[in-house]
Symmetry: C2
Subunit: 245 residues, 2 copies
Protein backbone atom coordinates (compact mmCIF):
# COMPACT_ATOMS: atom_id res chain seq x y z
CA UNK A 1 0.00 0.00 0.00
CA UNK A 2 1.10 3.59 0.50
CA UNK A 3 0.34 6.62 2.62
CA UNK A 4 0.57 10.17 1.23
CA UNK A 5 -0.84 13.46 2.50
CA UNK A 6 -1.05 16.89 0.88
CA UNK A 7 -1.89 19.69 3.31
CA UNK A 8 -2.85 23.33 2.78
CA UNK A 9 -1.63 25.91 5.30
CA UNK A 10 -2.02 29.68 5.41
CA UNK A 11 1.72 29.81 4.72
CA UNK A 12 1.80 27.33 1.88
CA UNK A 13 1.66 23.63 1.11
CA UNK A 14 3.19 20.54 2.74
CA UNK A 15 3.45 17.12 1.11
CA UNK A 16 4.55 13.85 2.71
CA UNK A 17 4.79 10.34 1.27
CA UNK A 18 6.12 6.99 2.42
CA UNK A 19 8.30 4.86 0.14
CA UNK A 20 7.15 1.27 0.52
CA UNK A 21 5.78 -0.65 -2.42
CA UNK A 22 4.79 -4.27 -2.16
CA UNK A 23 3.43 -7.10 -4.24
CA UNK A 24 2.15 -9.32 -1.47
CA UNK A 25 4.08 -9.27 1.79
CA UNK A 26 7.03 -11.19 0.39
CA UNK A 27 8.03 -8.71 -2.29
CA UNK A 28 8.79 -5.33 -0.75
CA UNK A 29 10.72 -2.44 -2.28
CA UNK A 30 11.47 1.23 -1.73
CA UNK A 31 10.32 3.74 -4.36
CA UNK A 32 9.86 7.49 -4.18
CA UNK A 33 6.20 8.45 -4.56
CA UNK A 34 6.76 12.20 -4.72
CA UNK A 35 7.72 14.12 -7.81
CA UNK A 36 8.27 17.88 -8.05
CA UNK A 37 8.43 20.08 -11.17
CA UNK A 38 9.84 23.55 -10.74
CA UNK A 39 10.24 26.58 -13.00
CA UNK A 40 11.69 29.14 -10.57
CA UNK A 41 9.72 32.35 -10.66
CA UNK A 42 6.87 30.76 -12.61
CA UNK A 43 5.56 27.57 -10.94
CA UNK A 44 6.18 24.73 -8.51
CA UNK A 45 4.13 21.55 -8.77
CA UNK A 46 4.32 18.46 -6.55
CA UNK A 47 2.69 15.11 -7.35
CA UNK A 48 2.05 12.30 -4.83
CA UNK A 49 1.09 8.86 -6.11
CA UNK A 50 -0.62 5.81 -4.62
CA UNK A 51 -1.55 2.60 -6.41
CA UNK A 52 -0.06 0.31 -9.01
CA UNK A 53 3.65 1.22 -9.41
CA UNK A 54 3.76 0.53 -13.14
CA UNK A 55 0.82 2.88 -13.57
CA UNK A 56 2.22 5.69 -11.42
CA UNK A 57 5.69 5.49 -12.99
CA UNK A 58 4.18 5.52 -16.48
CA UNK A 59 2.10 8.59 -15.62
CA UNK A 60 5.17 10.47 -14.38
CA UNK A 61 7.19 9.47 -17.45
CA UNK A 62 4.41 10.63 -19.74
CA UNK A 63 3.99 13.91 -17.88
CA UNK A 64 7.78 14.34 -18.18
CA UNK A 65 7.70 13.39 -21.89
CA UNK A 66 10.60 11.03 -21.28
CA UNK A 67 9.99 9.26 -24.57
CA UNK A 68 11.47 12.32 -26.29
CA UNK A 69 15.09 13.50 -26.36
CA UNK A 70 15.73 15.89 -23.46
CA UNK A 71 15.96 18.94 -25.73
CA UNK A 72 12.59 18.17 -27.37
CA UNK A 73 10.70 17.77 -24.13
CA UNK A 74 8.02 20.28 -23.47
CA UNK A 75 6.05 18.92 -20.52
CA UNK A 76 2.60 20.37 -20.51
CA UNK A 77 2.59 20.60 -16.71
CA UNK A 78 5.27 23.25 -17.15
CA UNK A 79 3.17 25.20 -19.63
CA UNK A 80 -0.46 24.74 -18.57
CA UNK A 81 -2.06 28.06 -17.67
CA UNK A 82 -3.57 26.98 -14.31
CA UNK A 83 -3.45 24.36 -11.56
CA UNK A 84 -6.96 23.31 -12.59
CA UNK A 85 -5.70 22.56 -16.09
CA UNK A 86 -2.73 20.63 -14.65
CA UNK A 87 -5.06 18.49 -12.53
CA UNK A 88 -7.08 17.78 -15.68
CA UNK A 89 -3.92 16.77 -17.57
CA UNK A 90 -2.84 14.43 -14.77
CA UNK A 91 -6.34 12.93 -14.74
CA UNK A 92 -6.34 12.38 -18.51
CA UNK A 93 -2.91 10.73 -18.49
CA UNK A 94 -3.81 8.59 -15.48
CA UNK A 95 -7.05 7.39 -17.05
CA UNK A 96 -5.27 6.60 -20.33
CA UNK A 97 -2.54 4.55 -18.64
CA UNK A 98 -5.04 2.55 -16.58
CA UNK A 99 -7.26 1.85 -19.60
CA UNK A 100 -4.28 0.87 -21.77
CA UNK A 101 -3.40 -1.89 -19.29
CA UNK A 102 -6.83 -2.91 -18.12
CA UNK A 103 -8.38 -4.45 -21.19
CA UNK A 104 -5.57 -6.28 -22.93
CA UNK A 105 -3.15 -9.14 -22.37
CA UNK A 106 -3.10 -11.39 -19.34
CA UNK A 107 -5.39 -10.60 -16.46
CA UNK A 108 -3.48 -9.95 -13.24
CA UNK A 109 -4.84 -10.45 -9.75
CA UNK A 110 -4.25 -6.87 -8.78
CA UNK A 111 -5.77 -3.82 -10.39
CA UNK A 112 -3.90 -1.19 -12.39
CA UNK A 113 -5.59 1.60 -10.52
CA UNK A 114 -3.90 4.60 -8.92
CA UNK A 115 -4.87 7.80 -7.14
CA UNK A 116 -2.85 11.01 -7.03
CA UNK A 117 -2.55 14.28 -5.16
CA UNK A 118 -1.26 17.24 -7.14
CA UNK A 119 -0.61 20.65 -5.70
CA UNK A 120 1.40 23.78 -6.26
CA UNK A 121 1.28 27.37 -7.38
CA UNK A 122 1.53 29.16 -10.71
CA UNK A 123 2.57 32.82 -10.92
CA UNK A 124 -0.31 35.22 -10.35
CA UNK A 125 -2.61 32.56 -8.87
CA UNK A 126 -3.26 31.00 -5.46
CA UNK A 127 -1.70 27.69 -4.40
CA UNK A 128 -4.13 24.79 -4.90
CA UNK A 129 -4.23 21.06 -4.11
CA UNK A 130 -6.26 18.45 -6.02
CA UNK A 131 -7.05 14.79 -5.47
CA UNK A 132 -7.15 12.99 -8.84
CA UNK A 133 -9.17 9.78 -9.13
CA UNK A 134 -8.35 6.82 -11.39
CA UNK A 135 -11.38 7.77 -13.49
CA UNK A 136 -9.56 11.01 -14.37
CA UNK A 137 -11.82 13.41 -12.51
CA UNK A 138 -10.66 15.33 -9.45
CA UNK A 139 -11.64 17.41 -6.42
CA UNK A 140 -9.94 20.40 -4.83
CA UNK A 141 -9.02 20.99 -1.19
CA UNK A 142 -10.97 23.83 0.40
CA UNK A 143 -11.02 25.52 3.79
CA UNK A 144 -13.55 22.89 4.93
CA UNK A 145 -11.32 20.01 3.85
CA UNK A 146 -7.83 21.46 3.73
CA UNK A 147 -5.94 18.19 3.21
CA UNK A 148 -6.08 15.04 1.12
CA UNK A 149 -4.86 11.56 2.03
CA UNK A 150 -4.33 8.66 -0.38
CA UNK A 151 -3.46 5.00 0.24
CA UNK A 152 -3.90 3.69 3.79
CA UNK A 153 -5.78 6.72 5.11
CA UNK A 154 -7.69 5.49 8.14
CA UNK A 155 -5.18 4.97 10.94
CA UNK A 156 -3.63 8.41 10.52
CA UNK A 157 -6.81 10.40 10.05
CA UNK A 158 -8.09 11.00 13.62
CA UNK A 159 -5.01 13.00 14.68
CA UNK A 160 -4.98 15.00 11.42
CA UNK A 161 -8.62 15.95 11.82
CA UNK A 162 -8.15 16.98 15.41
CA UNK A 163 -4.77 18.70 15.53
CA UNK A 164 -4.59 20.40 12.13
CA UNK A 165 -4.72 24.17 12.20
CA UNK A 166 -4.29 26.30 9.06
CA UNK A 167 -2.12 28.75 11.01
CA UNK A 168 0.54 26.09 11.68
CA UNK A 169 4.13 26.69 10.61
CA UNK A 170 5.88 24.23 8.31
CA UNK A 171 7.82 22.49 11.09
CA UNK A 172 4.68 22.06 13.19
CA UNK A 173 2.82 20.68 10.18
CA UNK A 174 5.61 18.18 9.52
CA UNK A 175 5.45 17.16 13.20
CA UNK A 176 1.70 16.56 12.80
CA UNK A 177 2.25 14.52 9.65
CA UNK A 178 4.96 12.49 11.39
CA UNK A 179 2.47 11.52 14.13
CA UNK A 180 -0.10 10.59 11.49
CA UNK A 181 2.45 8.56 9.51
CA UNK A 182 3.80 6.93 12.67
CA UNK A 183 0.30 5.68 13.63
CA UNK A 184 -0.07 4.25 10.13
CA UNK A 185 3.36 2.59 10.02
CA UNK A 186 2.67 0.95 13.39
CA UNK A 187 -0.60 -0.56 12.10
CA UNK A 188 0.04 -1.42 8.43
CA UNK A 189 3.17 -3.24 7.27
CA UNK A 190 2.70 -1.94 3.74
CA UNK A 191 3.49 1.64 4.79
CA UNK A 192 7.11 2.28 5.81
CA UNK A 193 10.00 4.68 6.22
CA UNK A 194 11.81 6.54 4.81
CA UNK A 195 9.34 9.39 4.29
CA UNK A 196 9.74 12.21 1.78
CA UNK A 197 8.72 15.71 2.82
CA UNK A 198 8.32 18.67 0.49
CA UNK A 199 7.22 22.14 1.56
CA UNK A 200 6.17 25.08 -0.56
CA UNK A 201 5.88 28.64 0.76
CA UNK A 202 3.13 30.67 -0.90
CA UNK A 203 4.44 33.31 -3.28
CA UNK A 204 8.04 32.09 -3.47
CA UNK A 205 7.49 30.20 -6.76
CA UNK A 206 10.47 28.06 -5.80
CA UNK A 207 10.48 24.60 -4.22
CA UNK A 208 10.79 24.73 -0.44
CA UNK A 209 12.56 22.25 1.80
CA UNK A 210 12.86 18.68 0.71
CA UNK A 211 13.84 16.21 3.42
CA UNK A 212 14.02 12.44 3.45
CA UNK A 213 13.19 11.20 6.94
CA UNK A 214 14.77 7.89 7.83
CA UNK A 215 14.42 5.72 10.91
CA UNK A 216 17.49 7.43 12.33
CA UNK A 217 16.10 10.96 12.09
CA UNK A 218 16.38 12.17 15.70
CA UNK A 219 13.19 14.27 15.49
CA UNK A 220 11.17 11.38 14.12
CA UNK A 221 12.54 9.04 16.78
CA UNK A 222 11.69 11.50 19.55
CA UNK A 223 8.17 12.02 18.22
CA UNK A 224 7.55 8.32 17.67
CA UNK A 225 8.94 7.28 21.06
CA UNK A 226 6.97 9.92 22.95
CA UNK A 227 3.64 9.57 21.16
CA UNK A 228 2.64 6.38 22.95
CA UNK A 229 3.25 7.99 26.34
CA UNK A 230 1.52 11.21 25.31
CA UNK A 231 -1.53 9.27 24.09
CA UNK A 232 -1.69 7.28 27.30
CA UNK A 233 -1.46 10.46 29.36
CA UNK A 234 -4.17 12.05 27.24
CA UNK A 235 -6.33 9.00 27.93
CA UNK A 236 -5.68 9.13 31.68
CA UNK A 237 -6.52 12.85 31.74
CA UNK A 238 -10.05 12.17 30.44
CA UNK A 239 -13.01 12.16 32.85
CA UNK A 240 -13.69 8.67 34.25
CA UNK A 241 -16.52 6.43 33.15
CA UNK A 242 -18.79 5.14 35.93
CA UNK A 243 -21.49 2.51 35.74
CA UNK A 244 -24.86 3.21 37.16
CA UNK A 245 -25.25 6.93 37.42
Amino acid sequence: MTYCVGLKLDKGLVFMSDTRTNAGVDNVSTFKKMHTWEVPGDRVITLLTAGNLATTQAVISMLDERSKAPEDRNPSVLEAPSMFRIAAIVGEVLKEVIQANANVGQKGDSSFSATMIIGGQIKGMDPRIFLVYPEGNFIEATDDTPFFQIGETKYGKPILVRAYDPGMGFEEAVKLLLVSFDSTVKSNLSVALPFDVQTYETGTLAAGRHVRITENNPHYKAISDNWSDALREAFVSLPDFRFGD
Copy 2:
Protein backbone atom coordinates in the same frame (compact mmCIF):
# COMPACT_ATOMS: atom_id res chain seq x y z
CA MET B 1 -20.86 -1.22 8.75
CA THR B 2 -20.38 -1.97 12.43
CA TYR B 3 -17.80 -1.71 15.16
CA CYS B 4 -17.50 -4.31 17.93
CA VAL B 5 -14.69 -5.10 20.35
CA GLY B 6 -14.18 -8.00 22.76
CA LEU B 7 -11.45 -7.40 25.32
CA LYS B 8 -9.74 -9.70 27.82
CA LEU B 9 -8.70 -8.25 31.18
CA ASP B 10 -7.11 -9.89 34.21
CA LYS B 11 -10.46 -9.32 35.94
CA GLY B 12 -12.67 -10.66 33.18
CA LEU B 13 -14.12 -9.77 29.81
CA VAL B 14 -15.60 -6.60 28.31
CA PHE B 15 -17.68 -6.42 25.14
CA MET B 16 -18.88 -3.34 23.30
CA SER B 17 -20.88 -2.98 20.09
CA ASP B 18 -22.50 -0.18 18.15
CA THR B 19 -26.06 -0.49 16.84
CA ARG B 20 -26.08 0.99 13.35
CA THR B 21 -26.98 -1.13 10.37
CA ASN B 22 -27.20 0.27 6.89
CA ALA B 23 -27.98 -0.72 3.34
CA GLY B 24 -26.37 2.16 1.54
CA VAL B 25 -26.36 5.53 3.28
CA ASP B 26 -30.06 6.10 2.71
CA ASN B 27 -31.35 3.09 4.63
CA VAL B 28 -30.15 3.22 8.21
CA SER B 29 -31.53 1.34 11.21
CA THR B 30 -30.71 0.49 14.80
CA PHE B 31 -30.20 -3.18 15.75
CA LYS B 32 -28.53 -4.75 18.73
CA LYS B 33 -25.40 -6.66 17.71
CA MET B 34 -24.74 -8.18 21.11
CA HIS B 35 -26.38 -11.32 22.44
CA THR B 36 -25.73 -12.94 25.84
CA TRP B 37 -26.65 -16.46 27.00
CA GLU B 38 -26.46 -17.11 30.73
CA VAL B 39 -26.89 -20.17 32.94
CA PRO B 40 -26.09 -18.75 36.38
CA GLY B 41 -23.48 -20.85 38.14
CA ASP B 42 -22.59 -22.71 34.97
CA ARG B 43 -21.77 -20.38 32.06
CA VAL B 44 -22.03 -16.92 30.54
CA ILE B 45 -21.49 -16.44 26.80
CA THR B 46 -21.59 -13.19 24.81
CA LEU B 47 -21.72 -12.99 21.02
CA LEU B 48 -20.91 -9.87 18.95
CA THR B 49 -21.84 -9.79 15.28
CA ALA B 50 -20.70 -7.80 12.23
CA GLY B 51 -21.82 -8.23 8.66
CA ASN B 52 -25.02 -9.01 6.80
CA LEU B 53 -27.93 -8.53 9.22
CA ALA B 54 -30.04 -11.35 7.78
CA THR B 55 -27.07 -13.68 8.29
CA THR B 56 -26.29 -12.59 11.84
CA GLN B 57 -29.94 -12.71 12.94
CA ALA B 58 -30.35 -16.16 11.40
CA VAL B 59 -27.25 -17.41 13.22
CA ILE B 60 -28.58 -16.16 16.56
CA SER B 61 -32.02 -17.67 15.93
CA MET B 62 -30.46 -21.01 15.04
CA LEU B 63 -28.17 -20.96 18.07
CA ASP B 64 -31.26 -20.16 20.16
CA GLU B 65 -33.25 -22.92 18.42
CA ARG B 66 -36.10 -20.49 17.95
CA SER B 67 -37.78 -22.73 15.39
CA LYS B 68 -38.78 -25.01 18.28
CA ALA B 69 -41.38 -24.39 20.96
CA PRO B 70 -39.78 -22.74 23.98
CA GLU B 71 -40.04 -25.89 26.15
CA ASP B 72 -38.31 -28.03 23.50
CA ARG B 73 -35.35 -25.71 23.01
CA ASN B 74 -32.03 -27.09 24.01
CA PRO B 75 -29.49 -24.63 22.62
CA SER B 76 -26.19 -26.38 22.21
CA VAL B 77 -24.30 -23.25 23.34
CA LEU B 78 -25.85 -23.88 26.74
CA GLU B 79 -24.68 -27.50 26.80
CA ALA B 80 -21.36 -27.58 24.95
CA PRO B 81 -18.54 -28.72 27.23
CA SER B 82 -16.07 -25.91 26.41
CA MET B 83 -15.71 -22.44 24.92
CA PHE B 84 -13.66 -24.02 22.12
CA ARG B 85 -16.60 -26.25 21.24
CA ILE B 86 -18.97 -23.25 21.35
CA ALA B 87 -16.75 -21.31 18.95
CA ALA B 88 -16.81 -24.32 16.63
CA ILE B 89 -20.64 -24.47 16.82
CA VAL B 90 -20.94 -20.76 16.03
CA GLY B 91 -18.55 -21.24 13.12
CA GLU B 92 -20.51 -24.18 11.72
CA VAL B 93 -23.85 -22.36 11.96
CA LEU B 94 -22.37 -19.19 10.45
CA LYS B 95 -20.84 -21.07 7.52
CA GLU B 96 -24.12 -22.92 6.89
CA VAL B 97 -26.22 -19.75 6.87
CA ILE B 98 -23.84 -17.98 4.49
CA GLN B 99 -23.70 -20.93 2.11
CA ALA B 100 -27.47 -21.38 2.16
CA ASN B 101 -27.91 -17.84 0.85
CA ALA B 102 -24.88 -17.52 -1.37
CA ASN B 103 -25.60 -19.99 -4.16
CA VAL B 104 -29.30 -19.77 -4.78
CA GLY B 105 -31.91 -17.29 -5.90
CA GLN B 106 -31.24 -13.76 -7.02
CA LYS B 107 -27.75 -12.41 -6.71
CA GLY B 108 -27.56 -9.32 -4.51
CA ASP B 109 -24.93 -6.63 -4.75
CA SER B 110 -23.81 -7.11 -1.19
CA SER B 111 -22.33 -10.26 0.26
CA PHE B 112 -23.95 -12.47 2.87
CA SER B 113 -20.80 -12.62 4.89
CA ALA B 114 -20.45 -11.99 8.62
CA THR B 115 -17.77 -12.16 11.29
CA MET B 116 -18.35 -12.77 15.00
CA ILE B 117 -16.67 -12.47 18.36
CA ILE B 118 -17.71 -14.99 20.99
CA GLY B 119 -16.45 -15.01 24.55
CA GLY B 120 -17.34 -16.17 28.00
CA GLN B 121 -16.64 -18.66 30.72
CA ILE B 122 -17.84 -22.18 31.55
CA LYS B 123 -17.61 -23.56 35.07
CA GLY B 124 -14.20 -25.01 35.88
CA MET B 125 -12.48 -23.39 32.91
CA ASP B 126 -10.83 -20.05 32.10
CA PRO B 127 -12.66 -17.25 30.29
CA ARG B 128 -11.88 -17.23 26.57
CA ILE B 129 -12.61 -15.01 23.56
CA PHE B 130 -12.69 -16.17 19.93
CA LEU B 131 -12.96 -14.43 16.59
CA VAL B 132 -15.06 -16.53 14.20
CA TYR B 133 -14.57 -16.09 10.45
CA PRO B 134 -17.28 -16.46 7.78
CA GLU B 135 -15.47 -19.63 6.65
CA GLY B 136 -16.35 -21.15 10.04
CA ASN B 137 -12.83 -21.32 11.45
CA PHE B 138 -11.71 -19.19 14.37
CA ILE B 139 -8.81 -17.81 16.39
CA GLU B 140 -8.47 -17.18 20.13
CA ALA B 141 -7.31 -14.04 21.94
CA THR B 142 -4.04 -14.55 23.81
CA ASP B 143 -1.84 -12.40 26.03
CA ASP B 144 -0.08 -11.13 22.89
CA THR B 145 -3.35 -10.11 21.26
CA PRO B 146 -5.81 -9.69 24.10
CA PHE B 147 -8.65 -8.15 22.10
CA PHE B 148 -10.54 -8.62 18.87
CA GLN B 149 -12.23 -5.98 16.71
CA ILE B 150 -14.74 -6.61 13.92
CA GLY B 151 -16.32 -4.25 11.40
CA GLU B 152 -14.68 -0.83 10.94
CA THR B 153 -11.55 -1.61 12.94
CA LYS B 154 -8.95 0.88 11.74
CA TYR B 155 -9.84 4.28 13.18
CA GLY B 156 -10.20 2.96 16.71
CA LYS B 157 -7.19 0.67 16.78
CA PRO B 158 -4.25 3.03 17.55
CA ILE B 159 -5.64 4.07 20.96
CA LEU B 160 -6.56 0.47 21.87
CA VAL B 161 -3.07 -0.77 21.05
CA ARG B 162 -1.42 1.99 23.01
CA ALA B 163 -3.58 2.45 26.09
CA TYR B 164 -4.79 -1.10 26.78
CA ASP B 165 -3.45 -2.68 29.93
CA PRO B 166 -4.60 -6.11 31.18
CA GLY B 167 -4.65 -4.80 34.76
CA MET B 168 -7.38 -2.25 33.94
CA GLY B 169 -10.64 -2.24 35.87
CA PHE B 170 -13.96 -2.58 34.06
CA GLU B 171 -14.78 1.13 34.19
CA GLU B 172 -11.36 2.09 32.87
CA ALA B 173 -11.70 -0.47 30.07
CA VAL B 174 -15.11 0.93 29.12
CA LYS B 175 -13.57 4.41 29.08
CA LEU B 176 -10.88 3.14 26.69
CA LEU B 177 -13.48 1.52 24.46
CA LEU B 178 -15.53 4.73 24.45
CA VAL B 179 -12.52 6.64 23.13
CA SER B 180 -11.94 3.97 20.48
CA PHE B 181 -15.64 3.99 19.48
CA ASP B 182 -15.77 7.79 19.51
CA SER B 183 -12.85 8.00 17.03
CA THR B 184 -14.67 5.53 14.79
CA VAL B 185 -18.05 7.23 14.99
CA LYS B 186 -16.43 10.56 14.10
CA SER B 187 -14.84 9.07 10.96
CA ASN B 188 -17.37 6.53 9.64
CA LEU B 189 -21.07 7.33 9.30
CA SER B 190 -21.94 3.63 9.30
CA VAL B 191 -20.95 3.26 12.96
CA ALA B 192 -23.20 5.02 15.46
CA LEU B 193 -24.61 5.28 18.97
CA PRO B 194 -26.16 3.89 21.04
CA PHE B 195 -23.48 1.44 22.18
CA ASP B 196 -24.10 -1.75 24.13
CA VAL B 197 -21.65 -2.68 26.86
CA GLN B 198 -21.47 -6.04 28.60
CA THR B 199 -18.93 -6.97 31.27
CA TYR B 200 -18.13 -10.35 32.76
CA GLU B 201 -16.13 -10.83 35.94
CA THR B 202 -14.02 -13.99 35.97
CA GLY B 203 -15.35 -16.70 38.24
CA THR B 204 -18.78 -15.19 38.87
CA LEU B 205 -20.52 -17.34 36.21
CA ALA B 206 -23.19 -14.65 36.06
CA ALA B 207 -23.57 -11.85 33.52
CA GLY B 208 -21.97 -8.61 34.69
CA ARG B 209 -23.15 -5.08 33.96
CA HIS B 210 -25.08 -4.38 30.82
CA VAL B 211 -25.39 -0.74 29.87
CA ARG B 212 -26.74 0.95 26.78
CA ILE B 213 -24.79 4.16 26.18
CA THR B 214 -26.75 6.82 24.34
CA GLU B 215 -25.70 10.23 23.08
CA ASN B 216 -26.97 11.71 26.32
CA ASN B 217 -24.82 9.57 28.60
CA PRO B 218 -22.94 12.19 30.63
CA HIS B 219 -19.75 10.10 30.83
CA TYR B 220 -19.67 9.51 27.10
CA LYS B 221 -20.30 13.19 26.43
CA ALA B 222 -17.49 14.23 28.78
CA ILE B 223 -15.07 11.74 27.22
CA SER B 224 -16.00 12.65 23.67
CA ASP B 225 -15.88 16.41 24.29
CA ASN B 226 -12.51 16.24 26.04
CA TRP B 227 -10.73 13.81 23.75
CA SER B 228 -10.08 16.36 21.00
CA ASP B 229 -8.47 18.73 23.50
CA ALA B 230 -6.50 15.94 25.14
CA LEU B 231 -5.20 14.75 21.77
CA ARG B 232 -4.20 18.27 20.80
CA GLU B 233 -2.39 18.72 24.11
CA ALA B 234 -0.64 15.38 23.63
CA PHE B 235 0.48 16.57 20.21
CA VAL B 236 1.75 19.89 21.54
CA SER B 237 3.67 18.09 24.31
CA LEU B 238 5.73 16.15 21.75
CA PRO B 239 9.29 17.25 20.93
CA ASP B 240 9.39 19.69 18.00
CA PHE B 241 10.44 18.80 14.50
CA ARG B 242 13.22 20.97 13.02
CA PHE B 243 14.48 21.04 9.47
CA GLY B 244 18.17 20.87 8.84
CA ASP B 245 19.78 19.35 11.89
